[in-house]
């Protein structure tokens, strides 16, 4: 049961259909739905990037929001302090996030399992506190808001297509990464770290590489968030935000590539619908997560049958 570097025919058809749907959606959907879809796309990227660590490499991180937030703040701070144009900042966002992920990972990966998760949580909160406390640089708890995105991208149509294009390219890259020999190695590490080491794989290098890549793509998702909401604020960096892509990936199914995508679709829509419907949305969302974790741990994709993605 070797993993496929290229998807099967049926899979390709499915992906093609999905992309086609997305491309025509601005002409079919009311604008409000379009914006929800934009949120879904950003969340899908965030969750898939996180899943590269959690599902693929078996490293449960509760700190990916740190990089998401760093990506967002890169764009926002560049505008606030007049350091760089939006486009430059947008390109720099994943690079800076990846760089910081490299340093953070070098430290965090010294611990294993639970303690690794707690370390990433600590980093997430650390960056959150820094964003809040360094008032003169980051505007503190208020966050940064204003016309930081070029008017072109603010229009729902162009903004949507831009987000769609970036997310498709990023997801395709992540797919190739996951299904390359590098990705296979990651999965070997997830299965049995000790054995992978014994087989001569450079385990810690691979883990660090995965951490860095995940951080970079999370940073890209953060930059896309700014395009969507034109604001950056400290809560984008805290551990609760870090939990979001993990929850999304688990709901969708962490053991499959498409899992986080389904999770993002389901979670965003469920969240928005619940908030609009009831004041007890926290209760409903919590109950939903509880039920998934207890009774359907394989996530949404476990409903679909077929072989598990390997």
């Amino acid at each position: 049961m070797a993993a496929r570097a290229f998807p099967s025919g049926g899979y390709k058809a499915g992906v093609g259909f999905a992309i086609l749907l997305l491309m025509v959606s601005p002409w079919v959907l009311p604008t409000s739905w379009l914006l929800v879809l934009e949120n879904v796309l950003v969340l899908a990227l965030f969750a898939t990037a996180t899943n590269l660590l959690v599902g693929w490499t078996g490293l449960v991180s509760f700190g990916q929001a740190a990089f998401y937030g760093i990506g967002a703040y890169t764009v926002a701070l560049a505008w606030l302090h007049g350091i760089a144009s939006f486009w430059l900042a947008f390109i720099a966002a994943p690079l800076i996030a990846g760089l910081i992920a490299l340093f953070t990972g070098a430290i965090a990966l010294r611990a294993r399992k639970l303690y690794f998760a707690l370390l990433t949580l600590a980093f997430s909160e650390l960056f959150y506190v820094l964003a809040e406390q360094l008032y003169d640089i980051t505007n503190g708890a208020n966050g940064i808001f204003g016309a930081m995105v070029p008017a072109l991208l603010v229009s729902p149509l162009i903004g949507f297509y831009f987000t769609l294009a970036v997310v498709i390219v990023a997801l395709a890259l992540l797919y190739r990464i996951g299904h390359s020999p590098f990705g296979l190695t990651l999965r070997a590490i997830r299965e049995r770290r000790v054995r992978a080491e014994a087989l001569g794989l450079a385990v810690s290098h691979h883990e660090l590489a995965a951490f860095t890549l995940s951080g970079a793509f999370c940073g890209l998702a953060g930059a896309l968030y700014v395009v969507h909401d034109q604001t950056a604020y400290p809560e984008l960096l805290n551990w609760v935000k870090s939990g979001e892509p993990v929850i999304v990936a688990v709901i969708g199914g962490i053991s499959s590539y498409a899992g986080p995508l389904w999770g993002a679709l389901f979670y965003q829509i469920a969240h928005d619908a619940l908030v609009a419907l009831t004041r007890d949305w926290q209760m409903a969302l919590g109950a939903l997560l509880l039920l998934v974790v207890l009774f359907r741990p394989g996530g949404i994709v476990s409903f679909f049958g077929g072989r598990e993605e390997r």
Partner: protein, 298 residues
């Protein structure tokens, strides 16, 4: 810098430490015995404070303080036992990811439940008159109630030590930590033991909330505010070690009190730096058992 202000600083550091210790001890105990990370621990803290406020509405505050201080945590302990049987029992051997997500989901539900039952208004609880005064330290004042909190944490620490080292219950807990299967083979009712331990953890969290109630506004948001601090303390001290929780609380209390005075901008970041440092150098915590850390590997 005179004697009075130094004394006040030390006392305020100890108060912060005392509060953190009671809560972190519960978290640490539950992890040590049950290997469970409970993100709903902060919710137990908040509910303890809310129950305290509700019990106060039943009659004159003077009379009610001491029984309420005991009853609010007991009620929460009972609720905790129910939660353990319904939910946590199912995930004892699950991956930590599952535990984190399940307890996080529970914390969302409890936050909403609290909002529904107690509403969004903030409440306060007055301290009993005997503790409402101040202690004068060469001209400077220090609230007596803070001293009470410090004393309470010492009592709790001592009580836990006695419980774990010198009672049958404590012995059973320690045996279960080592080898639950062996213990059940010896005829002990291990599931009931686990329920009791979880209830004890919930009791401690709620006691922390109830003890602190006269010092703060009680209302929504308390759960998330305390959770991260409690975790840092428990992790730094060593998950599973009560003495570690005390040490961690002392360190963090000290950092918070002194740090906010001398380096106010950086003080909140300190505690996370401390947590990172400890986790990198000694993941099992300052006083945790080292082999535990590696037991996390399959």
């Amino acid at each position: 810098m005179n004697f009075a202000s130094v004394a006040i600083e030390i006392l305020s550091a100890l108060t912060a430490a005392a509060n953190l210790f009671i809560i972190a001890a519960g978290l640490s105990l539950v992890f040590g015995a049950l290997r469970i990370i409970n993100l709903a621990h902060g919710s137990f803290y908040m509910i303890g404070a809310l129950l305290m406020a509700s019990l106060f509405a039943l009659g004159p505050p003077e009379v009610l303080f001491w029984p309420a201080l005991l009853f609010a945590p007991l009620l929460m302990a009972g609720f905790g036992a129910v939660l353990e049987r319904l939910l946590f029992r199912r995930i004892y051997h699950a991956e930590h990811l599952v535990q984190l997500l399940l307890s996080y989901a529970l914390s969302l539900m409890l936050a909403d439940l609290a909002l529904r039952i107690w509403g969004a208004d903030t409440r306060t609880v007055p301290p009993p008159a005997v503790l409402a005064g101040v202690l004068s330290v060469s001209g400077a004042s220090f609230p007596l109630y803070d001293l009470f909190v410090i004393a309470l944490s010492l009592i709790v620490g001592l009580g836990l030590w006695v419980l774990l080292r010198h009672t049958r219950f404590g012995w059973e807990i320690r045996a279960a930590v080592e080898d639950a299967e062996g213990l059940s083979l010896c005829g002990r009712n291990v599931p009931a033991l686990f329920t009791a331990v979880f209830a004890l953890g919930a009791f401690l969290a709620a006691l922390g909330g109830a003890a602190v109630a006269p010092l703060q506004a009680i209302g929504p948001g308390m759960d998330s505010a305390i959770l991260v601090s409690a975790f840092i303390v428990a992790v730094i001290g060593g998950l599973g070690s009560i003495a570690g929780a005390a040490l961690g609380a002392a360190i963090i209390g000290f950092f918070q009190a002194v740090g906010t005075l001398w380096l106010p901008t950086w003080a909140p970041a300190f505690i996370f730096l401390a947590m990172i440092l400890v986790l990198v150098i000694r993941p099992s915590g300052l006083l945790g058992a080292p082999q535990r850390a590696w037991a996390e590997e399959e």
